[in-house]
């Protein structure tokens, strides 16, 4: 379980708090969606979880282990990151995924590391592209490689920072279904930042509503109410139930 307690962060000593006393809990194998406007602190929250930034106060634990006291390499075997803008060097897909094992093997990869990579490539259907230059692939395919590399770390927690931001709807669905499968089949806890509320409702188990660095609300789909969404995104919305699914629609000012 991922547990964040009273996390506060600011970039400089006298600047405003970017995260203000944020607390959240996410159970093992759940997909948690962080919703908030640009600048609400989503990426900063993720960077704190990943150990890229150090908070001013608060704790983050994963299955009871404090992430801040964990050494860098050990943390990399527990938490993996899929960023929004994927950059790879001029490497093959296979080697790009094998890099995910570096925290485990250190200097030279072993047969076991390659076995893990082989099985991930097969599992994710990347065999045809395994020895192509990763930079020649489409955005969706590159994102799949990024997920595969994160999986090679054999993490307990996956952090996706707006993973579908640059993708078309087809690739977006592909990536999010893959995330859902990982959570269900492998029991990996996933925390994701997504802008589209309806996409979030389709894939998320738990929702964290962030506004100006503060956690406005958190919980299951029931927290996605017009009031909460209006509060964090500053737009008028209505929530309708269509064929048993909760859909968030923008309120038309001229409707009446």
């Amino acid at each position: 379980m991922l547990k964040i307690e009273n996390l506060s962060f600011r970039y400089k000593k006298k600047s405003n708090l970017i995260l203000d006393n944020v607390s959240l809990e996410l159970d093992k194998g759940q997909i948690g969606i962080v919703l908030g406007k640009n600048g609400s602190g989503k990426s900063t929250l993720f960077k704190n979880i990943l150990g890229i930034l150090k908070p001013e106060q608060g704790t983050i634990t994963l299955d009871g282990e404090n992430l801040f006291t964990m050494n860098r390499r050990l943390r990399a075997t527990k938490i993996a990151y899929v960023p929004q803008d994927i950059t790879f060097g001029s490497l093959t897909v296979y080697d790009s995924i094998l890099i995910g094992r570096v925290s485990r093997f250190g200097i030279a990869s072993t047969e076991k590391d390659k076995d893990v990579v082989d099985s991930i490539i097969e599992e994710m259907g990347l065999e045809a592209n395994a020895f192509r230059n990763v930079n020649e692939l489409s955005g969706g395919e590159r994102q799949k490689v990024a997920i595969a590399r994160a999986l090679a770390q054999e993490p307990e927690l996956l952090v996706f920072d707006e993973p579908t931001g640059n993708l078309d709807i087809g690739n977006e669905q592909l990536i999010l279904k893959e995330a859902k499968r990982l959570a269900k089949e492998k029991g990996i806890t996933i925390i994701v930042a997504i802008h589209d509320i309806n996409t979030a409702l389709t894939f998320g188990d738990k929702f964290f509503l962030l506004k100006k660095g503060q956690m406005v609300n958190q919980g299951g789909p029931e927290v996605i109410t017009p009031e909460h969404i209006s509060c964090i995104f500053d737009v008028n919305v209505k929530v309708e139930n269509i064929n048993g699914r909760q859909i968030v629609l923008l309120e038309d000012d001229n409707e009446n």
Binding site: A76, T87, G89, I99, N135
Partner: protein
């Protein structure tokens, strides 16, 4: 026991073997060049004379030309070429800047200043000491010049890394600080040369030409120790450099201590450069040309790119040296001029084509 391999693993091994084969062929080409390089020189020795001299069966003069002049400079070309090339590669990889090189970081400029200071200020080349050749030659010590060049090159990189660690140790801040401090060394060198005598000035300018003719077995040994140890360190860090290709944040989440790796790698690369430049003078562009050509052929996998850059650096400097001895008609041209003549157009080609790193 028969090992059963998946098609995926078989393909991986095949791809890896192809790169290993490339490295083996490159090494063979380098060895052939080294062999022929022994037979090329500005003296009138025939092939047979050189062959006999190799076994110390020729005249004393010819034996000395081969064993005291040609072989030390060939060894220097192999070692310095390897060192400058791998240092350039590591600077580019750790700073994420394909134009990073010893010159960009001001290491070469600092070495030039150190050498000029030694020649002009401490070896009697100042105006105040008079335009006296005897005065200059009696106090000039080639080793003192190299030591001064090394000290200033190392101090310069420590200054840059120190300044950058005060604030944010970002790749851009290192490159910009390198350019700024490099300019200060160049300006200081100009001022120093302004006050130099004709003799001091010409000695300083001649030192600035990269010249393999200064190499001795002693300097080769010192360079070899530094280059070999540095290259082993870089080789051990190959996967970490590969991880850094994904950006600083991604590398951190893969357990890499990016700042420490960047600091130590830049320091080691700069020490290699400082040692080579302090003994041989400025030999430009090796650190840019060779890594870039190898990236185009092999991609950016540092497991192969590091040895490939080492071999290609040695090869390019050996070939440039052969060219300098062939074109010199009686005396060898400064090899630094040859590498710069080859490197500058390549640099322009790179800027205007943007076709690097397309393979892997």
């Amino acid at each position: 026991m028969v090992l059963s391999r998946t098609p995926l693993r078989t393909n991986y091994i095949r791809k890896t073997n192809a790169k290993v084969l490339f490295l083996c062929v490159s090494t063979a080409v380098l060895l052939i060049c080294i062999f022929f390089s022994v037979f090329i020189g500005s003296s009138s020795m025939t092939f047979a004379d050189t062959w006999h001299a190799l076994f110390m069966n020729s005249s004393n003069a010819y034996n000395r030309i081969v064993w005291n002049i040609r072989i030390p400079r060939i060894i220097a070309a192999v070692i310095a070429g390897a060192g400058l090339s791998v240092a350039g590669l590591i600077m580019q990889s750790t700073l994420g800047n394909s134009m990073a090189s010893p010159s960009t970081l001001g290491v070469s400029n600092a070495a030039v200043f150190g050498a000029n200071l030694s020649i002009i200020a401490f070896a009697g080349g100042f105006l105040s000491t008079g335009n006296n050749v005897n005065n200059y030659t009696s106090s000039a010590n080639p080793f003192a010049t190299s030591v001064m060049a090394f000290i200033f090159a190392t101090l310069s990189i420590l200054l840059i890394l120190g300044l950058c660690s005060f604030n944010s140790f970002t790749p851009n801040s290192v490159v910009l600080a390198g350019i700024a401090i490099g300019s200060i060394w160049t300006a200081a060198t100009t001022i120093l040369q302004f006050f130099a005598t004709d003799v001091g000035l010409s000695a300083a300018v001649i030192w600035n030409f990269g010249d393999l003719g200064r190499a001795t077995y002693k300097t080769d040994l010192i360079m070899a120790i530094v280059v070999v140890l540095g290259s082993i360190f870089f080789g051990l860090m190959s996967w970490r450099y590969n991880a850094m290709l994904s950006g600083e944040n991604s590398a951190k989440t893969m357990g890499i201590n990016v700042k420490a790796l960047r600091f130590v790698s830049l320091l080691v690369a700069s020490v290699i450069t400082a040692v080579c430049v302090s003994f041989l003078g400025v030999i430009g562009f090796i650190g840019i040309i060779c890594p870039h050509i190898m990236k185009r052929i092999l991609g950016q996998d540092h497991r192969f790119l590091i040895p490939a850059s080492i071999i290609s650096g040695s090869l390019l400097l050996t070939l440039s040296d052969m060219l300098s001895r062939t074109l010199g008609s009686g005396s060898a041209l400064p090899v630094g001029a040859i590498t710069t003549m080859l490197g500058a157009p390549f640099f322009l080609y790179m800027i205007f084509t943007h076709r690097e790193d397309s393979r892997c």
